[in-house]
């Protein structure tokens, strides 16, 4: 029986909310509130627990831990500067590559370059990339990416060895293969969120741009991208966060060597790989030190995300002011 028939029956379809409605409404509000607060609580608890376990190491090693370059369990000398450097360097490289391709792909898939059906196929394939396990990426990196880039790396080193970025030969695992694989891993995140952002721009804005005589590329670069910039920036921040925390593929590809090097072909190390590889067999003296390193990683991630959010809100304010 539909509403019109009900109305025809003479029964009222509008009325004040019943007690059940009222209670349901109220309790939903409370559940939502509790869930929201729980997230903050979990983050706080995480920081607190790791922080407490890290206290002995913080007292013993202090800030020197952040600037030391040696990790020697037997002599009990610990420093994570190479890991901090490796984490940021590999993530920035991956963001540069993955960000460029991810945003380009989002433009390609949303701006009427392809018939909608084929665009859907492309989109699904890109999103499938997110479902591949990290270990598989790692093995793929060892068996496919490293042999593929070796000739290029050797040539770059031979011809442009004086450029710091190409200063060493590629041994196998190293910064470049790690960054390339990482770029592919963060690609689906960036592409998916950028697509959403671009799709949310009302179609008439684009039509208006065309109406004013803009070419397709002018419309995309000067109208669509700036309008969607907040969302695209969010995509990049999320991708960067994912890159910083990525563990297994990097542990297999980066070489895990405590090197501070600008060279793209040198092995390096990252905080997440250090934690994953040392934690399973860590003795009781080592655990606080690893917790300290975990705390540093957490703080880096939080800082990056907060800085990203801050920049995002700043730019969106400017955009609104400019409108």
């Amino acid at each position: 029986m539909n509403v019109f028939e009900e109305a025809a029956d003479g029964e009222q379809i509008a009325g004040p909310p019943s007690l059940t409605d009222y209670l349901l409404d109220r309790s939903f509000r409370w559940v939502a509130m509790v869930c929201a607060w729980l997230i903050i609580l979990v983050v706080g608890l995480l920081l607190w627990k790791i922080g407490v376990k890290a206290v002995p190491a913080i007292q013993e090693y202090g800030l020197g831990f952040l600037t030391g370059t040696t990790w020697d369990v037997n002599k009990r000398v610990f420093g994570i500067l190479p890991e901090i450097w490796g984490t940021l360097y590999s993530s920035v490289l991956a963001l540069a590559i993955g960000g460029f391709f991810g945003v380009s792909m989002a433009i390609f898939l949303t701006q009427d370059f392809l018939p909608p059906r084929i665009a859907l196929v492309f989109r699904t394939i890109v999103e499938l990339l997110a479902a591949i396990p990290s270990v598989v990426y790692g093995f793929w990196g060892i068996f496919v990416v490293v042999p593929a880039i070796r000739p290029v790396a050797d040539w770059l080193n031979a011809e442009f060895g004086w450029v710091p970025f190409f200063g060493t030969t590629l041994s196998g695992p190293g910064m470049m293969p790690a960054a390339l694989v990482l770029a592919i891993m963060i690609l689906p995140t960036i592409a998916a969120i950028s697509q959403d952002a671009l799709r949310q721009v009302p179609y008439r804005i684009k039509e208006a741009a065309y109406g004013l005589g803009a070419t397709r590329w002018e419309a995309i670069l000067k109208v669509m991208l700036p309008t969607a910039s907040t969302g695209i920036f969010g995509a990049l921040v999320l991708g960067f966060g994912r890159a910083i925390g990525e563990t297994m593929a990097l542990a297999m590809l980066i070489g895990n060597s405590n090197q501070l090097s600008l060279s793209l072909f040198s092995p390096g190390n990252t905080l997440a790989a250090l934690l994953a590889l040392n934690f399973p067999e860590a003795g009781e003296h080592e655990v606080p030190i690893l917790m300290y390193a975990a705390l540093v990683l957490l703080l880096i991630t939080l800082t990056v995300n907060m800085a990203g959010t801050a920049i995002m809100s700043l730019t969106s304010k400017q955009l609104k002011a400019g409108r």
Partner: protein, 335 residues
């Protein structure tokens, strides 16, 4: 003491007619062999179910001390201070043995690379950096060595394999002993030609994919991955190919003390392969229940009789007869 006992009885199985579940954790190197053993054992003993997790030697020892498992396994045995922490006493039994080989990858896959005992420590110290180094070439007059840099591949995670290998290097090279030293993880020389990969398979894969690479892995993994293995010079000056026979010759030189913890760091004997080691299972002297203790004793008995027959096939070294009888005697302490 009473508290511990109560805890254990609570954690133990509720009734006797239920299937007895035994859990163990530890070393990953003997894992393929142990899992084959436990599978066969459970087939013949329907009342027992054994579950073994290859978490790594260090994690196994930790679990063992915390009494979260019924037994554990470790490539590095246990330190005396660790044994002292075990409530209820520990019994360490060598159950099988393995070799560590230097796997290499050279263009054209030349076989039988010979590495003298003063050369391979220097390779891992980063002092010999090229394959055409005269010190390598002079030991291999028949091989045409390429003008390639040597890429050393090491374990990235803390491991018993590294423990045994670095102990051997320390025994052979005073410079290694004074420098990186020995341990589950050591501070490797800083060089962009020394890279690390996780686990035995990670090192194997990296060696296979990197021309000019050399890395240390367990013999069983090298056999499975079909990589070339170097012949190493032993204490008597002979170059020995890693094989079941050369490993058995190494173990024959081992002198087992009362606690059954013996290392063959630099074995004597013409036919001995230089880097071999026992790997241990760790048991409690006082177990949660007599039934569990009985099953564990039967597991040991199976391992040292039937189990030894399949070990050589899987790349491990069968235990010598004197070790088998010592283990059988010590297994009676598991109560």
């Amino acid at each position: 003491m009473l508290g511990v006992f109560l805890n254990l009885s609570l954690a133990g199985p509720a009734s006797a007619d239920e299937k007895l579940r035994l859990t163990g954790s530890g070393a990953s190197f003997p894992f393929p062999l142990y899992s084959a053993w436990f599978k066969n054992f459970s087939r013949n003993h329907k009342n027992a179910n054994i579950d073994y997790q290859a978490k790594g030697s260090g994690a196994g020892v930790l679990d063992f001390i915390n009494r979260t498992v019924d037994f554990a396994a470790s490539d590095a045995a246990m330190k005396p201070e660790e044994i002292a922490k075990v409530q209820g006493g520990a019994v360490l039994l060598p159950m099988t043995a393995g070799k560590i080989v230097l796997a290499y990858n050279l263009p054209g896959n030349p076989k039988g690379l010979k590495l003298p005992r003063d050369v391979y420590p220097d390779i891992f110290l980063g002092k010999i950096t090229r394959w055409d180094d005269p010190r390598i070439q002079s030991a291999n007059p028949g091989l045409k060595l390429p003008a390639l840099p040597i890429t050393v591949v090491r374990r990235a995670d803390s491991s018993g394999t590294t423990y045994v290998f670095t102990n051997h290097l320390s025994a052979v090279s005073p410079e290694w002993k004074a420098g990186p030293g020995a341990g589950n993880t050591v501070n490797w020389p800083g060089s962009d030609k020394i890279v690390a990969a996780p686990k035995n398979d990670g090192v194997t894969a990296t060696v296979k994919q990197t021309p000019g690479a050399i890395g240390y892995i367990e013999y069983a993994y090298a056999l499975g991955a079909k990589v070339e293995m170097a012949e190493l010079q032993n204490k008597d000056g002979k170059f020995i190919r890693p094989s079941a026979e050369s490993g058995a010759a190494t173990l024959a030189t081992a002198q087992l003390p009362e606690n059954l913890i013996a290392w063959v760091l630099d074995p004597e004997g013409e036919k001995s392969y230089p880097i071999a080691t026992f790997t241990w299972m760790l048991f409690y002297q006082q177990n949660a229940s007599p039934e569990k203790a009985k099953i564990l004793r039967e597991v040991v008995e199976y391992g040292i009789t039937e189990g030894q027959k399949i070990s050589a096939k899987m790349g491990y070294i069968p235990l010598p007869e004197n070790v088998v009888s010592a283990v059988r005697a010590a297994a009676n302490k598991i109560q």
